[in-house]
Symmetry: C2
Subunit: 182 residues, 2 copies
DNA sequence: TCAATAACGCTACCAGCAGTATCGAAACTA
DNA sequence: TAGTTTCGATACTGCTGGTAGCGTTATTGA
């Protein structure tokens, strides 16, 4: 093996985040990201099949493992919501997330990548940690992530803390067996 | 005045919905929409400033006035959620909505159009009918629309009825003055 | 030390799409 | 009939995602 696939990935991810933060997802062309990272565009396409896949990998790298800690189910969920809200509020992350999500709507291949690489790992861990069935966890993810992205997309700003707390209060009852409906 | 600006708008909207339904938002090019409507692309750009503006106008036309009827605040809200969920589930509507929303994330001008023409009218009516302050209504819209679009984008299918009911149960407490938080 | 090899940089290129410009034709008005 | 305004058709620009080909560099392994 020649030229070891030098661990440039972190630099590419950093360049992706910076470029998306400065220019937005649409104007963050692969050319610019490559230039920012100091590599050639072709190198990016040798490692990721598409722009969406690159940004998805960048998001996976940026999010890291979910901090599912707490004394109770409520605390664990609350911590997870605050964590994802903070992550989406980081420079470039929210715009990148909304961008790939947007692209994925009409790109089945990217949709699979997004579900598999980004959503599924967190879904599985949440099912195990919270002891909930898959449909409920999927519903919670829809509500939490959908709300955060909608706010981000409509206002351009991440959701304020008190609204995040309101969101936590909103989804907490879902974890309980009988959602107190008449 | 010559050639009366014949009311072709309905046909253009129908062509837009059909094309987006068949091809998705990204592949629904303005050329194709114009061809489907039997008019020239230039005519479209004489009436709407951008593709996003066209689709937004198409959505406004498709949604129409919100049916805010019911005996109580809860019933009004529940009816509104079922209505918007059904609309987003209609062929082409959900994809079009997700598409413009996506485009708007990195297009400030389109963002303004989307907020002004589509969201604001419903927000104002909801404030008046439900007797709620603007931040609360915005929060409800974020939760309801964000959740529906996230489900649509991730699965490609509209949200099932029982999940819509769960969503209604989720947001109903927000309308009450003291959200039952310790 | 010296090939062989694999990944890289560079340049050029293609295809598709949003949006613009131009001009002749049609249709309505007065 | 003359004037006005919109429409259709065509051609074009600019940008972007993605691909191809080729020379180059650095590492491996003998």
């Amino acid at each position: 093996m020649a030229r070891p696939r030098t661990g440039i990935d972190p630099e590419v991810f950093a360049a992706t985040r910076k470029t998306v933060h400065e220019l937005g997802y649409a104007r963050a062309t692969v050319d610019r990201i490559a230039a920012e990272a100091g590599i050639a565009k072709t190198t990016i396409y040798r490692r990721w099949p598409s722009k969406g896949a690159l940004v998805t990998a960048c998001l996976v790298d940026a999010f890291g493992p979910a901090p599912l800690t707490g004394a109770s189910t409520e605390e664990i969920l609350a911590g997870a919501v605050r964590w994802i809200a903070a992550k989406i509020g980081e420079p470039g992350i929210g715009a990148a997330f909304a961008g790939v999500f947007t692209d994925a709507v009409n790109d089945p291949e990217l949709c699979v990548i997004l579900s598999t690489r980004l959503q599924d790992p967190y879904r599985v861990v949440m099912q195990e940690t919270l002891g909930l069935a898959e449909p409920k966890v999927l519903f919670i993810i829809d509500v939490v992530v959908g709300t955060l992205l909608h706010r981000m997309g409509m206002t351009g700003e991440p959701m304020a803390d008190d609204d995040v707390e309101a969101l936590i209060a909103l989804v907490t009852p879902v974890t309980k067996p009988a959602p107190a409906r008449s």
